[in-house]
Amino acid sequence: MSNDKMLSIDEILAGLKKATEGVKKQPGLMKSIVGYLDVVSTYVERIATAKEEGKWVASHGTQQPLEILEAMDVRGVFNEFWGVVSDIVRLESVPEAMSVSASTGTPGEVCSFFRNMDGLMHAGKWPRSDFFLYATSCCDNVKAFHTLGRRYGIPSFGLERSYFPYTDHAMEHWKNEYKRLIVFLEEQTGKKLDYDRLKEVVARSYRLTELHLEIDKLVSHVPCPLSPECFSGTLVAIRLLPGTQKGIDFLTGLRDELKERIDKGVSAVKDERFRVMWTSFTPFFDPTLMGFMQQKYGAVSVCDMLSHWRGDAKWMLDPDDPLGNLAYRTVLAPGNCQYSSGVDVAANLSDKARRFKVDGAIFNNNFGCKTGAAYGPIIKDELMCEVSVPTLTLNCDVLDHTFVSRAEIESQMDSFFEMLETSKAYKERRNLQ
């Protein structure tokens, strides 16, 4: 079986470097794309050089208190993101990893983020990891960390968060899980956590949240000033380099550029005909799709579920209690949506649709996602009922572009945007009667 297409960390770095050079020569892109790629490259580079710098590497799932890792000089490899960046650098890496994963007996119906990891680990192309960290949110697939840890002799630690986190006892329990995590990390690294350093990191992380919310407000402007190449900018800063100055600098730059674009009347697309919300993840499996939608339909992506903060996101309750803040932050933070009631998610997305003046929603029904599969219809119905926003459901795979043909997607999008344009709600929203 060929392993050539699967990316190693060095190839990812080389690919990102090439992309960074490439965007400098491409006209019409946002300036912040350079900062975006710099954040991603820095992230990957830190992992690549961790060993020679005497740092520890933890492969982890979503909803980790990465600030604790940052404060303890542990470099995180976010397994989901690894699949996303593989798709950016070389689309054929993921399908090959899936084949390899299938050869180990892993069924094709579990999450592709984890199948990609399974395949890369089996082929020896996963970044060397000292330990695995995972948490209950967002789904059952985190069991894979324990399974793969057992298979490859890598110690792992799981953080348990109740599905119902809002009670006092659940929050206390969750905070206690962080303490247990710290004990695990101290045992593994031989280092003690410096709580003062943690407070600083958490404070910077909170600054990132504030910037994120400012950016959201700017992006909700009509017409939308944010182009697709920087769409996931906030998510990338918050999920990859939380608590870092680099993350803050990048988001500050992005915020300023968006302000400037609004002041100058520069928008993502000249003729903004549709404003789109992605009610699950954006199309990681096809990085060109959002640009295509803009070009063909004048459909601008304005928001998504993954970068949604619940409530007013003021999670810094007590600067002297970093663990308590982080615990509270988790239940509000982007990406956590999936690990909660579908009805709750639907209500949040309806609110988001109002704020961002959304015309249509796209739900990527990821074949391997069980949390998504059974709340897609609830979100669709609630959006229609509450804000008259119709939803296009695309049956796809979160990472593997070979799951569904581009022609099929385009055909469905043709139908969807035509339907939107003639709909009463759309015409009313845009005063086109």
Binding site: S415, E418, S423
Partner: protein
């Protein structure tokens, strides 16, 4: 002023010529390797039936999964493309304005569409990844049992004890059907066919349900010629469905209606 609608399906290419409210003629050819050739030939055959010349066609609209490459090939001054859902909805509404949900069942895909009172698409859903809710399973069964697809519907109505298929996957369903016909004694063919129809109809009904319980359901697409499947869907619906004559032409007809609109609005010059 005559116009033409062209539907480039994965199995058949259809053309319908419309003048005012009158359908002058239509043609259907098997889609071959070149969608452009098929499109041109389908239009030619439709012209031949109507006695019109190509110059008489003032506008054209193409639709269907293969419509992308044909824009230049069909040598008609004004040619646009419209989405499959819109064409199905428009064609259905043209035939039966009272239809509120349209179920299109094609060779390898199907679609359920909810219409507004004036024939606009309100919502639509396609069959999910598996082709079992489409004509694909019928083609397989036809080859296995060596019965022409066109005869399977009528034959299925002779069933006395329909054989249920447990699989919702075309590949596994094929294996199951093999086991039926090799049983001792074998399951009678009409019972197998009725079971296949039920399996397809159940999947389609799920799609219809997603559009909401319809007051009037119209069934179209090539598979709507299978009277057994129509009956199985009607059993879910609890009343007769609307089935246009020559239901395989509905999408092409819808495309022709768009061409007519284009022509009337003066957008047919380019």
């Amino acid at each position: 002023m005559a116009v033409v609608g062209i539907d480039l399906g994965s199995q058949n290419t259809k053309a319908v010529i419309l003048e005012g409210d009158e359908i002058l003629g239509g043609a259907s050819l098997e889609t071959g390797e070149s969608a452009e050739t098929e499109a041109r030939m389908a239009v030619q055959e439709a012209l031949r039936q109507t006695g019109l010349k190509r110059e008489d066609l003032k506008a054209a609209v193409a639709t269907g999964p293969l419509s992308v490459p044909v824009t230049k090939a069909v040598n008609i001054a004004a040619l646009k493309q419209r989405s499959a859902a819109s064409c199905i909805a428009t064609g259905a509404y043209f035939r039966f304005p009272q239809a509120r949900t349209v179920l299109y069942v094609g060779a390898d895909s199907s679609m359920a569409i909810r219409l507004s009172g004036d024939g606009q698409v309100e919502d639509s859903v396609k069959n999910e990844r598996c082709a079992v809710s489409s004509g694909a399973l019928l083609d397989i069964v036809s080859r296995m049992l060596e019965i022409p697809v066109a005869e399977m519907g009528a034959m299925s109505l002779q069933a006395t004890a329909p054989q249920t298929l447990s699989s919702r996957c075309v590949v596994f369903a094929e294996g199951e059907i093999l086991s039926f016909i090799h049983k001792n004694p074998p399951v009678p063919v009409p019972d197998v066919l009725a079971g296949v129809n039920q399996c397809i109809a159940d999947g389609l009904w799920g799609m219809v349900q997603r559009m909401g319980v319809p007051s009037e359901l119209l069934i179209c697409g090539g598979v709507a010629r299978n009277v057994g499947i129509v009956k199985a869907i009607e059993a879910h619906l609890g009343k007769p469905a609307l089935v246009p004559k020559q239901p395989q032409y509905v999408r092409a007809l819808g495309a022709a209606v768009f061409a007519r609109q284009m022509e009337r609005e003066g957008r047919a010059s380019c």
